[in-house]
């Protein structure tokens, strides 16, 4: 099993005809993902690469093709609107890859989603993959292997690093979720940990956080109270100076808060084993899995 997506997931891609969107739509299709529709306003009735039907609206894609999950490659200025459209069309899960959405747009979007059944992953994330079943996003599919470790992360490339290490050890993954590096985003660590905790096919978890904000500390408290499975973690940014944004909009130590040390302490206190370096994520988890 897996969380959130599997071989039956029917995906609509918003922004499928853009350069970035089309490149990754192709890779998702090649991986075997059921990309059943694309949405580009004004292109309804045409097809993407002679295969995937295009629609003007997400609502049409949901009604005509039974899409239940949307993946967004729309540029930042229109991405918040794209999320709202997908939610209104009834998508149960929306994955927003777009980087650079103004944070006040995301404040409104998150407020809008309150009380609605739609879950949001991202923005500014690599997406989600259930190996050998369904890849939605921009991660390199070939490094993954089907198995029983859940991976969740604020960072795309560190997720690949963790997955690469696991696969090299012959250890597969149940699902890998990139929750993104923006200060205001959709599902947070706890939302995903809850799902891994309940998924019978996930036996252990690697959680990758970074400096800035308090999501890792909150997750640590939740793990301490609820988590039934071993968790290894990495916090990126031990070497980062305060007050400087480290690439991700959310990766900034401000007012002395959100440091790596503070997060590592909270996680260790919760019984999570923190990897000493990013090169030891898989081995750290495996040391807990005997």
């Amino acid at each position: 099993m897996s969380i959130l997506v599997n071989k039956d997931t029917r995906v609509v891609i918003q922004g499928i005809t853009g350069e970035y969107g089309s490149q990754h739509a192709r890779a998702c299709l090649a991986y075997g993902t059921k990309v059943v529709a694309g949405v580009t306003p004004g292109r309804g009735g045409q097809r993407f690469e002679d295969k995937v039907p295009l629609y003007d609206t997400v609502e049409d894609a949901v009604k005509k093709e039974g899409a239940d999950v949307s993946c967004i490659f729309v540029p930042p200025a229109g991405a918040a609107d794209a999320i709202v459209e997908a939610a209104d069309a009834g998508c149960r899960l929306v994955i927003c890859i777009t980087e650079g959405i103004p944070v006040l747009d995301m404040v409104k979007v998150r407020r809008y989603l309150e009380g609605k059944p739609t879950r949001l992953i991202g923005p500014n994330c690599p997406g989600i993959i259930t190996p050998e079943e369904c890849k939605i996003g921009i991660m390199p599919g070939h490094i993954h292997k089907k198995g029983h470790i859940g991976v969740l992360s604020k960072s795309g490339t560190l997720t690949y690093e963790a997955v690469g290490q696991l696969t090299a050890l012959g250890v597969g993954q149940s699902s890998c979720v990139g929750i993104g590096g923006d200060p205001v985003a959709g599902m947070d660590f706890i939302d995903v940990l809850e799902l891994f905790n309940e998924d019978p096919d996930t036996h252990g978890v690697i959680m990758i956080g970074e400096i800035g904000g308090g999501a890792e500390q909150k997750a640590a408290a939740w793990i301490k109270a609820n988590m039934k499975k071993p968790v290894a973690a990495l916090i990126a940014g031990r070497a980062a100076p305060p007050g400087k944004r480290m690439g991700h909009a959310g990766a900034i130590i401000s007012g002395g808060k959100g440091t790596a040390a503070e997060k590592i302490e909270a996680l260790e206190d919760a019984g999570v084993k923190v990897a000493p370096t990013p090169a030891d994520m898989a081995s750290t988890l495996m040391s807990l899995m005997k």
């Binding site: 960072s155 795309g156 070497a239 909009a249 090169a279």
Partner: protein
């Protein structure tokens, strides 16, 4: 992105927020003329000469001075402050050179209030924070007596509710009718300003009550959300390149994110998380990173070349670690960029390269055939250890 106090106050004025009369000045002569005009306009011989740098804490650092003796006094202070290396708690020990002044009408202050709007990322709301204990010691107040800071959160659907503004006004001792009217109007304007201008921080410290009982914004610190630059072309004119690291600015222009650090191992990485992780692992093995550098997910050969040249040009760099996990990033493109950059600038320091992911074989081949002295690494940990050892060896030799 940060802007200067005088720019922030110009924006405040557009939202009906009362600010003292003032003029920016870029030279002593301009400062003198501005003081003259202000004194004529207000009929009061007191002006304040304020250093304009992006860091706060200017008052305590000697960058804010009151001229009580009219134009001549203002001129003398301008001469002293303009060009000085101003050191404040926020600039770091090197300080920041003062290149701009703000000449402002002096106000008779009854009391100083702290007021700030910022994004509370954990609550996903704009937070408004205020305290009666405003002024230059607010950090101390926040640390010692956090209960003296009042906080409220704004629901984006309702916006700032009038009752919330009133409640804060009462908490700040602004219950008198006219003061409450001024305060709620100001707060409403400030909230609208925060939204429309895409701010991530607006701080007024101090917001003063004058001896006459009026409420005026005496300082203004505004930071914009960098992501919102796409809808604010006017920000280009507000940018002050002197306040930014020239290398970081150059990087930004070509779509690379770069932060200077004080170590000696240059890093070129794809992805922000891996870039941070690379710094961390260098530190773990006893080295010191010279920079954070994320070339991005789909960087071109030109971008990689630019990035590598930025590292090469720094004379503090004693070794370079290229760490790529090619998801979307193709390893051959990285290799081509690295080779192109070294062709122009040469390579005099050790280079360790770790390539993983898409087109890794093609990438390795390009590096092998380049004739450059490159040590390849089999993993991130291997690479970090190799570059730290090479730099130590270089230092010993």
């Amino acid at each position: 992105m940060k802007i200067h106090e005088y720019q922030a106050k110009q924006i405040f004025a557009r939202y009906g927020i009362p600010v003292p009369k003032g003029e920016p000045a870029f030279s002593v002569a301009e400062a003198e003329a501005a003081a003259q005009r202000l004194i004529e306009a207000t009929g009061i011989p007191v002006v304040v000469v304020k250093a304009q740098i992006h860091a706060g804490g200017r008052g305590k650092g000697g960058g804010v001075k009151v001229a009580k003796g009219g134009v001549a006094d203002a001129r003398a202070l301008a001469e002293k402050i303009l060009g000085m290396q101003l050191i404040t708690v926020q600039t770091g020990p090197a300080g920041q050179k003062v290149r701009r002044l703000y000449i402002e009408q002096g106000l008779d202050i009854d009391r100083e209030i702290y007021l700030a709007l910022t994004l509370d990322r954990d609550r996903r709301r704009i937070a408004i924070m205020a305290s009666r204990e405003g002024g230059m010691d607010i950090e101390q107040v926040a640390h010692d007596t956090p209960e003296k800071i009042h906080t409220l959160h704004v629901d984006p659907v309702i916006g700032l509710a009038p009752y919330q503004a009133r409640k804060l006004g009462y908490a700040l001792g602004l219950g008198a009718k006219e003061q409450m009217r001024q305060f709620t109007k100001l707060l409403d304007g400030l909230y609208k300003c925060f939204l429309a201008e895409d701010c991530s921080l607006v701080e007024i410290n101090p917001l003063v009550v004058t001896k006459k009982g009026d409420i005026v914004a005496l300082d203004g610190k505004v930071t914009f959300d960098d992501n919102a630059e796409i809808r604010h072309p006017e920000w280009a004119d507000l940018r002050d390149a002197d306040e930014e690291d020239p290398v970081e600015l150059e990087a930004k222009k070509v779509g690379i994110s770069y932060v200077s650090l004080d170590g000696d191992i240059g890093c070129l990485v794809n992805g922000a998380g891996l870039a941070m992780g690379t710094m961390d692992i260098i530190l773990h093995y006893g080295g010191k990173p010279a920079n954070f550098l994320d070339v991005g997910g789909g960087a071109s050969k030109e971008q990689v070349k630019k990035a590598f040249q930025m590292i090469l040009r720094s004379d503090k760099v004693k070794g370079i670690f290229v760490n790529i996990f090619g998801g979307i990033m193709r390893c051959d493109v990285v290799a081509e960029g690295v080779v192109a950059a070294t062709k122009e600038l040469g390579l005099s320091v050790p280079l360790v390269v770790r390539l993983e992911g898409t087109n890794v074989e093609a990438g390795k081949k390009i590096l092998d055939e380049s004739g450059l002295k490159i040590e390849s690494a089999s993993s991130m940990g291997d690479g970090a250890q190799k570059i730290v050892a090479a730099v130590k060896q270089g230092a010993a030799a």
